[in-house]
């Protein structure tokens, strides 16, 4: 079996997917414009574009370019990165629940960043290093714990849930032991929010997204074969161990960088790849479609977080948890229907 035969799609399906791509791109652009235009100071769309091109009042430019644009750009990019991370882990665990939220990697990255904050630094480099280190340590721990008896079935998920609970307790202990001001900062950051997110994160986030996306594009054919089963993939020239480690590292880095920038935003990594799989009706994991779905999901969630109870603003992570809960209920009810 060639790689092409795994990923090739019939003409009708290809046309349908093109329509879905165009529709989702329009939705993404619509959400971005809404994010730039809606707010406590409602700014008409023409003024938004004027501000984006450096024209118009200085106050409008500050709000649109200085405050809202970083939030929209980073929201879309972070959503895409979370989705790509989730898609990678779901492929290498061959489990739709195999997202970094569930497996404990998010909690590990949070622990790493928390330790950096408690240590007195909130710089971009230190937070990123802490989150990446914590995420990789958590991932290594999970795979060590399941190594002896294999990662099959639900074992990996159960170990991940246990590690998430354990790290949750550790994080609480760190916050309680920290200086009150630091603990307060950490607690607010820990809710996961795009409110007030700083434009200084744009180069790092976009850079990580571009590099991660490129790496995934290179690995995509091998990952598609890997989904068919380890033995079959091996027989077709894939080296599963190396693939798993590479995918895991890329997934953790993508995840950890988002956590460093915005705190832990739950459920996008879990839900976006599965939603994309169903909407695009894809056999192999549709990475690009997952990224698009993640971007749409997070921009939509953030818009809700900012406007639902305005002027009170909810942490974006709270809205994604709500949406994630609905997704889980939908997924579990679907599983029950299939069993009957």
């Amino acid at each position: 079996m060639s790689t092409a035969s795994v990923v090739a799609v019939p003409f009708a399906t290809g046309r349908r997917r093109r329509i879905i791509w165009i529709s989702s791109a329009l939705v993404l652009v619509g959400l971005a414009i809404a994010g730039l235009s809606l707010g406590d100071a409602a700014i008409p769309v023409p003024d938004v574009f004027a501000a984006l091109f450096g024209r118009g009042e200085s106050g409008t430019r500050l709000v649109v370019v200085g405050w809202r644009l970083p939030r929209v750009v980073l929201g879309a990019a972070i959503g895409a990165m979370l989705a790509l991370s989730g898609a990678l882990f779901q492929v290498i665990t061959r489990n739709p629940l195999g997202s970094p939220d569930i497996l404990g990697f998010s909690a590990g990255a949070y622990t790493g960043a928390l330790l950096v904050i408690v240590g007195g630094s909130v710089s971009t480099a230190a937070l990123t290093a802490g989150a990446v280190g914590g995420g990789i340590a958590a991932a290594a721990l999970v795979f060590v714990l399941v190594a002896r008896r294999g990662a099959g079935g639900t074992r990996l998920i159960i170990v991940g849930i246990a590690l998430t609970a354990m790290l949750g307790a550790v994080n609480t202990m760190i916050e309680l032991a920290a200086d009150d001001v630091v603990a307060h900062t950490a607690a607010i950051w820990g809710a996961g929010s795009l409110n007030g997110i700083d434009g200084r994160w744009i180069p790092l986030i976009l850079g990580a997204l571009a590099l991660g996306g490129l790496a995934i594009a290179v690995m995509a054919p091998a990952l598609a074969l890997y989904e068919l089963g380890e033995d079959r993939a091996t027989s077709l020239g894939v080296r599963p161990v190396r693939l798993r480690i590479s995918a895991m590292l890329i997934g953790v880095v993508l995840l950890a960088v988002t956590i460093a920038a915005a705190g832990p935003i739950a459920f996008v990594a879990l839900a976006a790849p599965q939603i994309a799989r169903r909407v695009w009706r894809s056999g192999p994991m549709p990475f690009a479609a997952s990224a698009m779905t993640g971007a749409v999901l997070l921009l939509f969630s953030d818009l809700l977080a900012a406007r639902l109870f305005a002027p009170t603003m909810l942490p974006t992570g709270l809205v994604t948890i709500g949406i994630g809960g609905l997704y889980l209920a939908w997924m579990l009810s679907g599983a029950n229907r299939r069993r009957r």
Binding site: A41, D47, S58, G59, V63, W67, D180, A187, G196, P311
Partner: protein
Amino acid sequence: MRPSPRLRAALAAAVIVPLVLTATACAPDADSSSDDGAASGDTVVVDSVYGEVTVPAAPERVAAISYDTPWQVMSLDLPVVAAIDYTQWIDGYTEDQQAYIADAAKVGSYGEVNFEALAGAAPDVIVGDAYEVDEATFTRLSEIAPTVIVGGDERGDWQSITEDLATALGAHDTWEEAKASYEARRDEVKEQYADVIAANTWANFSLGNEVGQFSIQLPSGSTGNLVVNEMGLTYGDGIPQDTDDGAGYVSLPLEQIGTVLDGVTVGLTYENPDGSKMPGIQDVIDSSLFQQLEIAKTDRVYGLVSNVTDYRTAEEWIDELVAKVLEPLSQ
């Protein structure tokens, strides 16, 4: 499509006006001898946690964005045009406090400032405390209006926090009056009720951080400072004197309440203006472990309404202490 004039006006009011005001406030002073404060553009440079800030000498539109800050500004006889949303805690505040913030724009919730709503309130100065405002938030707030972030030595250091705010808002005379009035009242009460004060051992407790816990105010907390350092009430031996985390209180498992409150003869706590207590505090009082304490058996648990954030509320707290506790105990 061109935006309507009304939209443009709204935008100008919401966004551009505060920026212009900021620019005006920060501009070099052309006529510093004028008595007409903000209207003439008089400015002063004040210290804040994140460095020196140039503010209007007599601000007219103050935004107070940290949890205790509006009440501290209230004690300086200045109005606020913006504050966070207090809806979920409103029952704990007096009618005067509720009326004070009734017309203020709501600019987000505790820990989540809505910058656009704040800009829409067109403040000419923003004040807050360092416990809730980090440097990145300060930087963004400074794009809206001159921002002064204050922070005392510890959470309950309302004396220096209010002094710094008074300096920043050009209200030092009002602050000194409130301080003098408070100190006179404090000394008068300490002298008048010296016997009752000396004859008892005191504690100020509240609900804990979690179910199954209770909390004790430390001498570094807002009310603990008043109880221990200002009024000189003897705190129970089992009560921690301080921790390093700066919170001003410590939350402990309910199992330890017997040890912590051992020997305490008067228990102080908080209550709402209508006389009810927060469910978490009532749960502590209703627990069987609490009911075994001497203060429960002798019915010497007193709820005080005043939230101590400044000299005025501290004086109100002392007045309440006299009326509800010291006077009855001296009978």
